[in-house]
Structures are given as C-alpha cells and as structure tokens.
C-alpha cells in the first residue's frame, strides 16, 4: 500500500518508486533514468583549427532531458556535475609557440582553464572536473578565445571528430 504525501505516492513496485516517475530504489541501488547527461562530439567542421566559444557539439548520442542545446548545457537541478572535454589540440602545422588555452565556462564566465604549450602538430587535451551548479546554471567551453584566456596564436581544437565531451549529474 503506497504512502500518499499530499498526492505524491511512495510505493513498492519491485522496489521503492517515486510518484509517477520511473526512478526507483531497490536491492541493486538507485535507478535514475532521467539523470541529466549528455555525451557527444563536434563533427561539423571538415578539418582545421577551431578557436571558438561556445563549444558546438552537434552530434550527441546521449542527451537526457535535452539539457544540451547544441552548444550549452543548462543544469535542470542543483547538484554536483561531472564535466569532461577532450580533443586533439594544436595548429595543424607543428609550429613552435602556438600555445593556447581551453576554458570551462560557467554562466558565461571563466571557471578554470588548461593550457597547450607544445609544438606537436596535434596533441590530446582533456579537462575533467566535478562542479557544484545551481538549477539554471549554464556550462560550455571556450577554445583559446574569450571568455577563456586568448593566447592570440592560431592554436585551437580539431572540429571534425577527434573530440568527445560529456556532462552528467553526480548527485
């Protein structure tokens, strides 16, 4: 028999279920099929170097709750979110001194950044962090251009695959 809390039912249907949602707690743990999450990559630039803000991720294989609108993730609830951005980064020419910055941008402002400092043609960069966000906060990335630091060199990310990004709610 469910517990009715102001019209909201807690019930046992092969596990503790919450209202009309499919969220459940049972012997396997918590099942949260509407966990906010996105995973995808940028595929829309045929080749070359991208210095860009916001980061476009046109191809998503996961976009639960449609939090990702193509270039920005909007947090639907307050919580701690894991964020990972990775891509080969460089100039495509191997020219020394084409350093550059990759910034994590929260609500339009720089939160933290990484730095490419090599003369390799392309080299993997991977930013990952868990960040506390409020409902409505926005997340994206900036590649060697404001609001990230801008080295004013030609370094940037590769825009035709060779990259992957993900964001999901931890708790």
């Amino acid at each position: 028999m469910p517990i009715n809390i102001n019209g909201y039912n807690l019930s046992n249907a092969s596990g503790l279920t919450f209202g009309a949602s499919s969220t459940k707690i049972d012997s396997s743990g918590i099942t949260d099929p509407f966990l906010p999450a996105v995973f995808g990559s940028r595929t829309d630039v045929a080749a070359g170097v991208i210095r860009t803000y916001p980061w476009v991720m046109d191809s998503t294989t996961t976009n639960v709750n449609s939090c990702w609108n193509g270039s920005v993730f909007t947090c639907p609830v307050t919580g701690v979110y894991y964020m990972s951005w990775s891509s080969i980064v460089g100039s495509g020419a191997g020219t020394y001194g084409l350093h550059g910055f990759i910034g994590l941008i929260k609500n339009g402002g720089l939160l933290y950044y990484s730095y490419r400092d090599t003369n390799n043609i392309w080299e993997l960069q991977h930013l990952e962090v868990t960040i506390k966000c409020a409902a409505g906060d926005t997340i994206t990335w900036a590649i060697n251009i404001a609001p990230a630091p801008d080295s004013t060199t030609g370094a940037g990310a590769y825009g035709a695959n060779h990259n992957a990004s993900t964001i999901w709610l931890v708790g």
Binding site: I5, G7, S21, I30, L35, G79, V129
Partner: protein, 173 residues
Amino acid sequence: MGFDINGITLSSAAGTTLAMNSGATNWMAVNANGILSRPQTPYMWGTTSGQAAIYNAGGGNLLVIANENIGSCWNNSTGVWTCPVAGYYMVAMGNIATGALQTNSYGYIGVFKNGVLYGHNHWNFGGNWHYLSLSSIVAAAAGDTIVWQLFSYVNAGIHGAGGHGSFSIALMA
C-alpha cells in the same frame, strides 16, 4: 503536510516532487521528471595555488586548495580526503605537467587510498607543459583516506602556481 519519520520529513509541496529533509536541510529530492538529487553529497573541487611553478610536494600529498568542500571532507593543510561514508567515489584530476623546458622530464601521478597506491598515470616528455589527467572510481569505507601524490619523478612536477588544472572528489553512490 509531510510524513515524519522520527525527525526525517518526507514532503511534497505540490504533489509532483518529493523532498526528504532533516529539519531545514534537504537530504534528497526527486523532481517532477524523476531526477534524483542529493544536495549533501560529499564533494570537493580545488586547484593548486601559491606553490612552485614546478610542484611535486617532495613526493608528499599534493596540497590542493578547495574552492568548494561540502561535508568538509577535504583538509587543505594535509591534502587528505576522509570518506564520511562507505561508497564509490569519483576521483578526478587534470593539470599541466612537465619540468618546463627540461630535456629529461618524467614522473607518475597516483591516487592513494589509506596510503596504498590505488591507480596511477605516467608522463614522460621533455620541454614545455603537457596535459596530464587521471580519473578513478575508488571503492572506500567510512574513514578511508584518499590523497594525490607524485612519485618516481625526475625534473618534473605539475604547475602549482595557480590555474592550469583542477582536482575533485565526489561520492557517486
């Protein structure tokens, strides 16, 4: 009207969401879409700052300065995370590393649980800064400790003066 279980209150203001509170503190919520959130999730995020440009802590714990520290599990002075409950913790770091313009520069970054190496990564390159990252899911008991350390390094460290990296730990489940 809530459902009180010896001081823990289950309530639903509009009949579409559920909140589990202890007094004024929200422990858990399930919104109308079924998204479950846990605002008290033990969590830290921080960076190194004010350290040497090439920072290795002499092989000791990396003294990350927390920007956020929910549950006060992270100790800035010792560089130690103490797990408040048993569970699986996401431990993630990324930072540029090298021996800046050294021709021979390499080292290891490790996650240690209770002083024992749990997982590690390795970098080996000369000159300039390169990006180093390491993520782990650490199974831990209440009271277990987690730290980051560099080891077996030569002419190397992470960029410790500020920016260029981040460190975070969060309880997943």
